[in-house]
């Protein structure tokens, strides 16, 4: 099982991130690029590129056969999928295995088990990990209504094949069930080609807490602490931090152990994240899902543990045992990540691609910027709107928040619209500073910011 030349089947900042990790380990890199990304920053950093198709992701980054053919055609012995695109495609993992190529990620079977949210729920329950009161597959709105009556409203309808917030609907009144059921199954069918739905109790005052894991093929699983990702807009994370604020140490330990138990039970290999919903009113937590890939927000865990997660992914993929045990993982300080997107907050977060004229990020100690952007780069219209991740470290949360404020104030971008003004507003808001966050805070802050237009201008 050698990993000496890695084909990176991704783009943007994560492609840069993976290339740098490979370089640090002396591994050659081949970057698969679409026609739109031929001249991107990662394309210049990689040892070589191979153009796999036109700009449209379905004909390039999402094409399993093309990715595998590109890997074998360039003599690559491994494929790193990054996040998004084919990162959680069991078909890619299978196709790599069939060609004798190492997939930098878990086994195809583990991706499948966790990819079906209903199956994942069952697995969690079998391991004794708490799950939300809910249902198995519901076939009709009548059946959904009956289940909802049992577990009590509000409930959330979810897609079994789900992810990214699609096919998710909150039902607060029984009379809305029919309409919500219809639109959730339509969304699920459109997004995943599978309209299977299930129900879970909806927690209104919730935080999103997730545990970073690493597992090797020898059955070792360690956690690298938890992250709080409660600040989300339309189920897309916006700000993440580690460790999770305002949580008792005993509860923190329970959540971490629950994640390790689940991963150990399926012999999980490589980097993964178990997501939980944390009910702030009762102090209870419940399993949501497991992400079988490296995540966007992994740098905050790196900042507080000193572990390079992408390098560890590569080491695990080439068959090495984990180099450290749980007791070797030392948590120190606090880290916050802001996702900077090419979106205009005061125009309903309208996407704003185009040519970057000024790109002047903050610099200095405790500032990390993961990005593929630079002055003169054109943000293409075809892909995700994220242009950078700003990661700030401090000895404690207050220091990290203060440093993040200053770093955002120094960040100057023109040519494209960005969400920087909104991030500045969030960081200066007393609720965030006090750690009073939940999954609805972002929507509230958007409303507040609109009410005070000067907040944007002065930010």
């Amino acid at each position: 099982m050698t990993v000496s030349r890695v084909l990176i089947a991704n783009r943007g900042e994560i492609a840069v991130r993976v290339i740098r990790a490979c370089q640090a380990l002396g591994i050659e890199t081949v970057l698969a690029v679409s026609e739109a990304d031929r001249d991107s920053l990662p394309a210049r950093l990689a040892d070589r590129t191979i153009c796999i198709g036109p700009a449209s992701a379905t004909a390039s980054y999402l094409n399993v056969n093309t990715i595998v053919a590109a890997a074998s055609g360039t003599g690559s012995d491994a494929v790193h999928p990054g996040y998004g695109f084919l990162a959680e495609s069991p078909e890619l993992a299978d196709a790599c295995a069939a060609e004798g190529i190492t997939f930098v990620g878990p086994q195809a079977e583990q991706i499948r088990q966790m990819g079906n949210k209903l199956q994942a729920r069952t697995l969690a329950r079998q391991c004794g990990v708490p799950i939300l009161p809910g249902s198995e597959k519901v076939h009709s709105f009548e059946e959904a209504g009956a289940v909802a009556a049992q577990i009590g409203l509000p409930v959330m309808l979810k897609a079994a094949a789900g992810g990214g917030g699609r096919g998710m609907k909150i039902v607060t009144e029984a009379k809305d069930m029919r309409q919500m059921f219809t639109s959730a199954s339509a969304e699920a069918r459109a997004a995943f080609g599978n309209d299977t739905l299930y129900l879970e109790r909806y927690i209104a005052n919730a935080r999103h807490v997730e545990v970073q894991l690493l597992g090797d093929r020898f059955g070792n699983v360690v956690h690298l602490g938890e992250r709080d990702c409660s600040l989300q807009r339309r189920h897309q994370k916006l700000v993440e931090e580690a460790p999770a604020p305002a949580m008792t140490e005993s509860r923190r330990e329970e959540i971490r152990q629950a994640a390790v138990t689940l991963a150990r039970n399926i012999g999980y290999e490589n980097a993964g994240t178990v997501e939980f919903i944390f009910d702030q009113d009762t102090g209870k937590f419940y399993f949501l899902e497991m992400n079988t890939r490296i995540q966007v927000e992994h740098p905050v865990s790196e900042a507080i543990t000193g572990v390079d997660l992408v390098q560890e992914q590569l080491r695990i993929a080439r068959g090495e045992a984990l180099r450290f045990s749980q007791s070797d993982v030392i948590f120190r300080g606090h880290a916050i990540e802001c996702r900077i997107t090419a979106e205009v907050p005061d125009e309903g977060f309208r996407p704003s691609p185009g040519r970057i004229m000024v790109w002047s990020p903050p610099e200095g100690p405790n500032i990390r910027l993961d990005t593929h952007c630079y002055a003169g780069y054109t943000v293409p219209i075809f892909y995700d709107s994220m242009v950078a991740k700003l990661i700030i470290y401090g000895r404690d949360r207050a220091e990290a928040v203060e440093r993040m404020r200053r770093a955002l104030a120094q960040f100057s971008v023109s040519g494209i619209g960005t969400n920087l003004s909104f991030l500045r507003f969030v960081m200066s808001h007393p609720d965030f500073a006090a750690g009073k966050v939940n999954t609805r805070l972002v929507e509230e802050l958007i409303t507040q910011m609109r009410a005070v237009p000067s907040a944007i201008a002065s930010a």
């Binding site: 153009c51 198709g53 055609g73 196709a95």
Partner: protein, 188 residues
Amino acid sequence: MNNAFDTLSDDEVRQIAQLVETLDHSTFDFLQLEIGDLKLTIGKGAAPPTGVATAPVAAAQPPVAAPAAHVPAAPVVTPAAPDPSPPAAKAKGPVQDGTVAIVAPIMGRFYAQPEPGAAPFVAVGAMVRKETTVALIEVMKVFNAVPAGVSGVVTEICVQDAAIIEYGQVMFRVRPTETASNDIPIVA
């Protein structure tokens, strides 16, 4: 400001595209226009016989507007043509030598012949028609026959047999012929 093409508005480009289309359906071989500094030659066959020393005007598919001699470096204006969906090959615009490129419509492994030991689909000097298969591109054991997409004479084979080719990479160069009529011998 020597390069008049830089100053063409979208509207003007659209008008040129319309001219090209009109010409394509007419019985004329070429059209020359001179408006102020801008000289425009549109053709679908051989270069105009006398006078203007134009860049060789290309062939047929798709009809192109070529810049006149005093703006040799100007890019070729290619009218909006329907994008052939893969795996149909795209013939790119002409370069200085009057040939057009057949580029790879997908990434994969290039095969010059239908099976090992067989004769290649085409050789230099061979006549091809738009629908002539010029190569196979293999992706994960699926072999896609690639049609030439242009009629003419193969002047260069740019790829080694069994090499990996990228999306958009030039596979062949072809000197286009005037029309793709049926009397051109079919290459086996």
